[in-house]
Point group: C2
Chain length 415, copies 2
Amino acid sequence: MTINIDQANQKVIDAFMDARPMVTGVAPARDVIPGMHDNLLLHAGPPATWENMSGPVRGAMIGALLFEGRAKSAEEAEEMLSSGKFEFAPCHHYDSTGPMAGVMSPSMLVYIVENTTTGYKAFSGLNEGRGKVLRMGAYSEEVINRMQWLNDVLGPAVDAALKEMGGLDIRTLLAKALHMGDDGHNRLDAASLLYTNLLAPYITKTAKDADTASEIIKFLGENALSVLNPVMAGCKTMTQAGHNVEGSTIVTVMARNGTDIGIRVSGLGDQWFTAPAPVVDALYFPGFTEKDASRDIGDSTITETAGIGGFAMASAPALVTFIGGTPRDAINTTLDMYEITFGEHKHFSIPFLDFRGTPTGVDIRKVVEKNMPPRVNTGVAHKDPGVGQVGAGVVSVPMSVFEDALVAFAEKYGI
Amino acid sequence: MTINIDQANQKVIDAFMDARPMVTGVAPARDVIPGMHDNLLLHAGPPATWENMSGPVRGAMIGALLFEGRAKSAEEAEEMLSSGKFEFAPCHHYDSTGPMAGVMSPSMLVYIVENTTTGYKAFSGLNEGRGKVLRMGAYSEEVINRMQWLNDVLGPAVDAALKEMGGLDIRTLLAKALHMGDDGHNRLDAASLLYTNLLAPYITKTAKDADTASEIIKFLGENALSVLNPVMAGCKTMTQAGHNVEGSTIVTVMARNGTDIGIRVSGLGDQWFTAPAPVVDALYFPGFTEKDASRDIGDSTITETAGIGGFAMASAPALVTFIGGTPRDAINTTLDMYEITFGEHKHFSIPFLDFRGTPTGVDIRKVVEKNMPPRVNTGVAHKDPGVGQVGAGVVSVPMSVFEDALVAFAEKYGI
């Protein structure tokens, strides 16, 4: 078989960049995610079993059953979850992406994000804010009540607002935010402000009264990660647009579940290449240390896969106050990522590098050749179920997944 | 007389930095500005007469009389203005600051910004957005109607919101915005988003209905200069806190009126040192050139006087898309300003310079010794009344005003 890898890769990153994700609405997962059913629970990262599932994912699964009203207590939920009654699957198998534990259950509201270039739709839940939250494995009453409020109050008003405004353009929002000190993953302060500002004039009219509108706008505006989930679903539509291109060595999925980390490669279909998830080099919140940390977790690495996040750190020097390091480290991370990517983004640029496009499209050939793994920004969850976030930092994807993928590529294409 | 200039200067910049400006409300100028009266019209910069008044200031004065209902036509307004019936005075003589033409008339609503450290209050009008606006010298029906809407609809709702929230902290807002790609003067994209986000949850409740709330939030959120006026009044409270310190060589006012540019120095009381206003090195809007430009104009240089704006350009590399130049020029401008300032700000920092404090407190000794004038970011108005903005750019304050001030300083203090 004759293949032109560079041509295939160019096609892939063109598809990434031509994707135009629009957030079009919010709906229950069971109504919009193809294949979702009552006993299906989605989680971040590559496949996991109840037995090898990390603490935060277990915690979020427990919380999901409490939220769904399927269990009355954490004990009952655990029993049901270990009984074999439920099917567990990666979000990525269902056109979805979930931050941290990434657990999505049938009744949860999800954002619908459509790549208007192709019509493909991706999904992601509603963001709960920072701290003690389901996605970090917490499931206390406070956590479940907030989830209910998101489902009953915030979600429907945001859905109606999105419909009234005719959808919200995620690519334009990200392009602006990268000029306002965001990396597009771990720092979304500007993007969340932009998001709230675009929604607020509509929420005043779609919320049931002025007090409710006020409460929703305040929640969105004070949560610096409000827009993380639609951003992730937006990035999923970008990378999916470049998936399954014959002969391409570009990574289209990188995801972790606190146990394993896995990647998928455009020219290698739906095969996962996995390794144990690494420990994050993090700045810990007061009272926590590396001993408390879950291993690397979450689908939010879809942002780096699409060319932002850790790859755009040179846009976000103030992020180092949250994850550690210096502004120089932030610039160097971006410069390093140019070494292992196929192209430079035509819509996302970095002012301080003279508006150079962000490094886009991780090429497994370059990663192996340069022996330089992708670096990603991430939050860190507590390793035990029920606790929550303990820090944030930077982590490198293990080299072995790229080596394994390159071997599989060579075998498949006979080179 | 024995004076310790460094000690005096330290006292001045400490006062700048310890000021804590809060936006507390909005009210008609005549009700809150001490000394405001029916026949008083304020303008930007040092003193001006009708005869030597620049086009944009004339245009805004005409607009003000139309807005006040004192004149029925531009012709009638011009006649009244040249009749000697009205008193013209710099905003700075009335604890006020106005962007560009800076015209403030008795019925216009103004922001009240209080330095809670000292109780001093400064004032500034409501921002109209970009383009064809009164502050650029335009006075068409569209301009006057917008001013009316600001006075009748937006202003009262914002006033009630500010009161309900207990005031809004301008220093904290600016500190955040400098970490989000703003310079605090010509680029206030992030600051205006922050401002709108803080106000929106209250405006939903203080506007007369949901549609009005929606309209106000949209206007504030889409105007990247929404917060410029309260920022300027905030900076005025900072620099005023350091004014009139015996023996200090720190500049406490820099302002232009399209004819002249003037400065005041802390240790030299209320004397203006003036020179003809320079022409701005600008990026012009399509269809305009330097031939259309008014000379440098506006009180917004109060931001540079306080240690942000052009002095913090290293925080705002994306600003070069609006004013010309490269990100390297932006960094160099900030680095140069350290050469002529007395200290570094303890609340305003620049991520890319390893969170170094912004250069704060222009020292006339250093300006003269280094032969390096302060550089400021600014908008450019059309030179004729009635047109509006034609560009934006960077300009240096003429050296002669610092030389004159230094001579006066030496004379006063006998050195």
